[in-house]
């Protein structure tokens, strides 16, 4: 029994050690997919609910959810890059990589997705890109 607990604990610790490089790779993958989608996106004037520029640390995951759901709503997952990006934004490594919140109490103050004003698609993609870059600049 003790041996099993010890092995499980070791596996858990190892997973923590390896998480950072995997999160980094995942976020870099999200950036690549986003750049491909931006390049091929035809209508940059389309208006979409966009989280604000200044997102609190504890509201980043809420903003991520908003970006993902808006993408699904506007474009669906029929396109090659849309599908890849949606899956990547839904990945556990992406979520853990963009979780900047150290406390659990602040999430209730985050705005809902529909309350965000609509911005152009180009601005939508730029803010999503900034969010991912912010995550990468925090990972060691």
């Amino acid at each position: 029994m003790k041996l099993i607990v010890f092995c499980l604990f070791t596996i858990y610790c190892c997973s923590l050690v390896k998480a950072s490089p995997m999160e980094r790779k995942k976020l870099q993958e999200v950036l690549r997919e986003l750049k491909m989608l931006k390049r091929d996106f035809p209508n940059t004037e389309l208006m979409m609910n966009t989280p604000p520029k200044d997102i609190e640390d504890c509201c980043c995951l809420t903003a991520l959810t908003c970006f993902r759901e808006t993408l699904l709503q506007q474009f669906g997952i029929s396109g090659k890059y849309q599908k890849k990006l949606y899956k990547s934004l839904n990945h556990t490594l992406t979520i853990s990589g963009l979780n900047f919140c150290n406390t659990e109490t602040s999430t209730t103050n985050c705005s809902t997705c529909h309350s965000h004003p609509k911005e152009k698609a180009s601005e939508f993609f730029n803010r999503l890109e900034s969010l991912v870059q912010r995550g990468l600049s925090r990972i060691n």
Binding site: L27, E56, S130, Q133, R134, L136, S137, I139
Partner: protein
């Protein structure tokens, strides 16, 4: 009067626009934000500076930059992640209030890399290593290297993010290598538009090496001299020995429909050329076997001797012994030798 009113309003607006200071902000090494408002010259008044990051409260400046006792800028401490938030600045002077928003994500200038060292690797390559002092993670910092050999032109090379070394393959031991490096934030972390300054240079190689591009060996002038002398000797040899010249430099015939004589195709000397003339006539020199006959045998014969009277001058061809071009040199034969040779 309405015209005067509008004119004064316009004048006030123009003056106001002239007076409003322009604030420029730069994130230095991801440690602090440096804002200045002296781009158009030292301000006439002392402004009070406030800044606001994202949704935070306004903060007053606690470290001003001054020039002639006038505030011209402010340094404000920030966290590395704060550049992704909107940075607002406010300059106040009494009732005057100038606010401006800044996007600091790309307005970053890192300090130059430090501890630039060089090592001669076991693979006989030259390895350069350096560090960076900003709090940015290693995978967020990309570099650029410039190096030169023997003070020639600089060669530039990009170094990918996360790498802090550079290699020069198989360097020459007689050359001098100088290298510098600079860095900036990588695209994956919000690419900065400014490169850092170049680091302090590091030098490797011979201090006594000459900086000329071609280092001359001491044997080179000797080899050149030997070559020139050999060439002169060969030219002299060829000028005086036609046969040798023909062997070494074969004559290429130049056929022409207008030249009927084949010897005209070749550039031979006159003596050699004469030998090819169709009307050339050379008398054959008769060769007889010597047979000593006693006097008694000569008398008892019926007189039908086989002696052939020959022209004494048959074989005496005028011959210049120095003329080597004549293929058929003949020796003068005396008349006595002709008689002896009767069959």
């Amino acid at each position: 009067q309405p015209d005067c009113f509008y004119f004064s309003v316009l004048l006030d607006l123009c003056l106001l626009k002239k007076k409003s200071p322009d604030v420029d902000c730069l994130v230095v090494n991801l440690d602090y934000v440096s804002c200045k408002w002296n781009k158009t010259g030292t301000p006439e008044v002392n402004y009070t500076f406030y800044s606001k990051l994202g949704n935070d409260q306004w903060k007053i400046c606690n470290h001003y930059l001054t020039e002639n006792n006038v505030n011209i800028g402010c340094n404000q401490q920030v966290d590395s992640g704060d550049r992704f938030k909107t940075f607002r600045t406010r300059l106040t002077n009494g009732s005057e209030n100038f606010e401006k928003g800044h996007e600091l994500k790309k307005q970053v200038k890192l300090n130059p890399p430090t501890n630039l060292t060089v090592l001669n690797g076991s693979d006989f390559n030259l390895w350069f290593y350096w560090n960076h002092t900003s709090p940015a993670p290693l995978h967020c910092v990309e570099g650029e290297v410039r190096f030169r050999t023997n003070n020639n032109n600089w060669d530039f090379s990009k170094v990918s993010a996360g790498i802090q070394k550079y290699c020069i393959n198989l360097p020459s031991s007689s050359s001098r290598y100088e290298l510098q490096v600079r860095n900036r934030i990588d695209d994956s972390c919000g690419e900065s538009i400014f490169w850092s300054d170049w680091s302090e240079p590091v030098v490797w190689g011979s201090n006594n090496s000459t900086y000329s591009k071609d280092l001359m060996s001491p044997w080179t002038p000797v080899i050149y001299l030997v070559g020139v002398i050999s060439f002169i000797l060969l030219a002299m040899l060829l000028m005086h020995h036609e046969r040798l010249r023909i062997i070494l430099v074969p004559v290429v015939p130049k056929p022409s429909p207008f030249l009927h004589n084949i010897e005209d195709w070749f550039q031979f000397s006159k003596g050699l050329k004469d030998n090819f003339k169709p009307d050339y006539n050379e008398r054959a020199c008769p060769v007889r076997e010597y047979n000593y006959v006693s006097q008694s045998d000569v008398v008892s014969s019926d007189g039908s001797t086989c002696s052939v009277t020959t022209d004494q001058t048959d074989c005496s061809i005028e011959h210049d012994p120095e003329d080597l071009s004549s293929p058929f040199p003949s020796n003068p034969v005396s008349s006595e030798e002709v008689q002896k040779a009767s069959v």
